[in-house]
Symmetry: C2
Subunit: 191 residues, 2 copies
């Protein structure tokens, strides 16, 4: 399954199979059961995850105690609290496995050493983050410009792989909608 | 004024003064008058900007023709449509100078060559984008968790340098509020 990681990297940079083996050595392969916590709020953020299979949900608890998703990650996506991972601070976000999930996990220390030893991985991550940041600005546009109903259908039509795999209530949370509202507009569309 | 760029880079990576001169050579120093357009929607996105002085506003036009800000940039910030800059596609965003603004501009070709010739700049941009992406996830949290009034005061208290320099109506647009609403809550706070 780690071949998926190699295929992903090769989409961005040219990395030899032997260098890939050395890169992979810095990671830990980890299987999480459904609902298992990978990161807990109020703790130091010291791990970056790459999803090989399954789905992770990064969320925070509102003052009222509701879980609100800020990002989820399926195969080929990176996830952590990137700001706190950079400086090793305490995070406000939880990361939980939505389904049974297999990840590659790398510690801050190993990440730093990896980038030191393999400058090609600086390029890889520069491209990954540049695209992720660019996509977040485009997301702002949809949040501002579309009605709640349009946001939901835009998302499910443009990201069918998420819509099929992620529970409706998490998609609702990610889009800033209530699960009840999503049920309502789905029923309206079917009728 | 280009010293500001060197100081910025030095916060992230170690770059010698002579290498900085070579890096700087790939950029064009450009002064824009207030309201001047630096990027126009429906055109190819081929330029990345670093603000030395002043302020840029990246916005799109809603279907109703209203300008909505997705990001602005003051000294020390990078701005472009990062997704389209990566692939040279057409952008949906406009970039306009809010005040008289001095930028360093780099073309896609020069950016690519710069990263080829100076791997240390891959590290620099990797860090810049990692932080920008991380901050965008934290912003999602505030957009979801806070009331509109709290969003406004959170922003102006945490980013006073923006609040002082950027017109109220742009801050309102960036935060997804109407200018009328911002006037109202400011008046309420003063009273």
């Amino acid at each position: 399954m780690t071949n998926r990681f190699y295929d992903h990297i090769k989409q961005y940079v040219d990395l030899s199979p032997s260098d890939f083996d050395s890169v992979l050595n810095r990671f830990e392969l980890k299987k999480s059961a459904k609902k298992e916590m990978l990161q807990t709020a109020e703790h130091h953020c010291n791990t970056l995850y790459f999803v090989l299979d399954g789905c992770l949900n990064m969320y925070f608890l509102t003052e009222k105690g509701t879980e609100r998703t800020v990002q989820f990650a399926i195969e080929g996506w990176w996830l952590t609290d990137f700001l706190q991972f950079q400086k090793g601070g305490k995070t406000n976000f939880n990361i939980q496995a939505v389904t049974q999930t297999t990840v590659l996990a790398i510690s801050r220390e190993n990440y730093k050493a990896l980038l030191e030893d393999y400058p090609i991985m600086e390029r890889y991550f520069r491209k990954v983050y540049q695209i992720a940041y660019g996509a977040s600005l485009v997301k702002m546009r949809y949040l501002y410009d579309l009605s709640k109903e349009e946001i939901y259908f835009h998302f499910t039509e443009n990201f069918p792989e998420f819509a099929q795999r992620v529970p409706q209530k998490l998609i609702a949370s990610f889009l800033g909608l209530t699960p009840e509202y999503v049920s309502e507009i789905r029923a309206k569309k079917r009728s």
